[in-house]
Symmetry: C2
Subunit: 361 residues, 2 copies
Amino acid sequence: MGEGELIFVGFGLGDSGLTVKGLETVKNADKVYVETYTNYTPDWVIEELEKLSGRRFERVSRKELEELGGAALLEAASDSKVVLLVPGDPFMATTHIALRIEAEKKGIKTRAVNSSSIVAAAAGACGLQIYKFGESATVVFPDSDTVSMKPYDTVLKNLERGLHTLLLLDYRAEENRAMTVNYALRLLRSLEKIRGMQVFIDDRLVVGLARLGYDNYKVKGGSLKDILNEDFGEPPHCIVIPGSLHFVEAEALKVLADVKEISPREEINARSYIPLDRLNRYISGVEKVFRDIRLLESSRLVDRGDIDKALDWARSYYEDSQAFRDRGDLVSSLVAVAYCEGILEGLRLLNLVEFKWEGEV
Amino acid sequence: MGEGELIFVGFGLGDSGLTVKGLETVKNADKVYVETYTNYTPDWVIEELEKLSGRRFERVSRKELEELGGAALLEAASDSKVVLLVPGDPFMATTHIALRIEAEKKGIKTRAVNSSSIVAAAAGACGLQIYKFGESATVVFPDSDTVSMKPYDTVLKNLERGLHTLLLLDYRAEENRAMTVNYALRLLRSLEKIRGMQVFIDDRLVVGLARLGYDNYKVKGGSLKDILNEDFGEPPHCIVIPGSLHFVEAEALKVLADVKEISPREEINARSYIPLDRLNRYISGVEKVFRDIRLLESSRLVDRGDIDKALDWARSYYEDSQAFRDRGDLVSSLVAVAYCEGILEGLRLLNLVEFKWEGEV
């Protein structure tokens, strides 16, 4: 066990997101490293932090942290107090988590000094409720032969459930490229041709956000076709796709994101999530049919054994449906109950049995 | 239009989460209010902030902000620079958003100074990837006659999709009650009797977190039955329910949350989300049947018109299924294709037609 310490200090969003505690921690460290490749950070921000703390920081690259596993940091932290300054809140990037685990395994104490994160700040800047955000995704620059469907599919799944989505935009420090809101929306709209689920259509309500945490931040929402052409200026940018809106949220989008009108057309019609009550209505509908069903005269033409077999088959699917539901497998339950309905309907279409579906006249 | 300004300054998590920018903003304000009812905050934290900034803060209650709409603040902000200090990052509570909208409508300039938020910090403290968190929920103290199923259902939906969930715990400043991890888990486990979807079972992997942002924070994960009896000390507490784990996340839970073992039993068996590929297999299976199906000798006993009607009916459900799928309504599509299968199966059980399902021998 060494006596060293590795402290991850978030310097938050913008130009003065370091906390009072973070500043003290930096001042008291033996050595201070900083990485700026996980979020776009202008050089002057780091210079300001150096001035504020009266310390010089050593820059670490993606290569140093990801390929070399932060060997230099871990070496230094084995017997001294080392700070790694990171943009936003620490541990938003897997690299930082992996580095922390590595340090702990080497007997180096670790801790975090939190700061602001885009995850909370983006929600707040739009006035959208943070708990209604579903999973988030990053829109990455397409390679020559692949484009990730992840952001499209994530937004789709969230919209289906009425949830908001935060889309982070790719930043490639080595190439000095940061994705803009405009680039991302154009890319996402092009995926509409592949998926066609009406997610990134011209009328979709979207919010572009730029430079949160800086004095010259910008938040502007509207229809996708309008925001496509909006100039958001310097990076970093991100996007929020609102889901169902509470009236305070709708009001907030107008006041805080300058959204002109919120049309009722924003609702997604995709539905891949089975509501339990709908399933239960199917199941109780079939239950009623089994109570009422009776054989018709014309059924004598067919082998009675075959009819009984078909009815038994239907009944066993009905029972399977209940069992699947009770085990939580609503998909198989829905398949089973609809299958059962189909068998019953088949018998009825052949004029072998008589019954009415719930609500049928 | 007044010349005033209302600035929402987050003081983050713990005892020194105020940022350097936030501190400057407080120092330069004409008047500083603070609210501590949206998150448990010991008095000494506020006293430290007063000492640090050399200012006295005026406490505002829930009643003042929610029932009276923050009238006093808005009045003061109409012609002076007013700061409202809030725990965490600003605008995590609807009250703050509503107050901001109200101010803007009165022509009062508003802005936010961000700070750390439990949403990002809880993920980081467990070493779980922030983008894999689904929607979050708050576990509230049950009233005498109601208990909210929301947290249970939220965790269920997230687990189904492999997502993590952050559960915030109720805090009632007026009654000086803050919910503990233990209370919340006991409550959630009791809901298992109502829902029975195997979410809050004894073996469920859960992580309890206490006092993030304070030096004496605690993070401890394990099976629900073990964490139920863990002492987390002073509030505030919260809970994370991990979903599917990347290997770095599994490793992080062991190192950072002291999880002894991660059994493969944590997977949820609930399934209410329809995978497109499964649906497509059903649809292409039926397509094959329509190509192969032929009438049997015994079908002569039944009116040929009835058989044709049943086959037409089945075919039209098959077409509906494709149309629903293409419109994104996978639920109706699945119902239609299973119904179609049922009709076909019914005809086969009656020995009227002959065909084989995909893979059937």
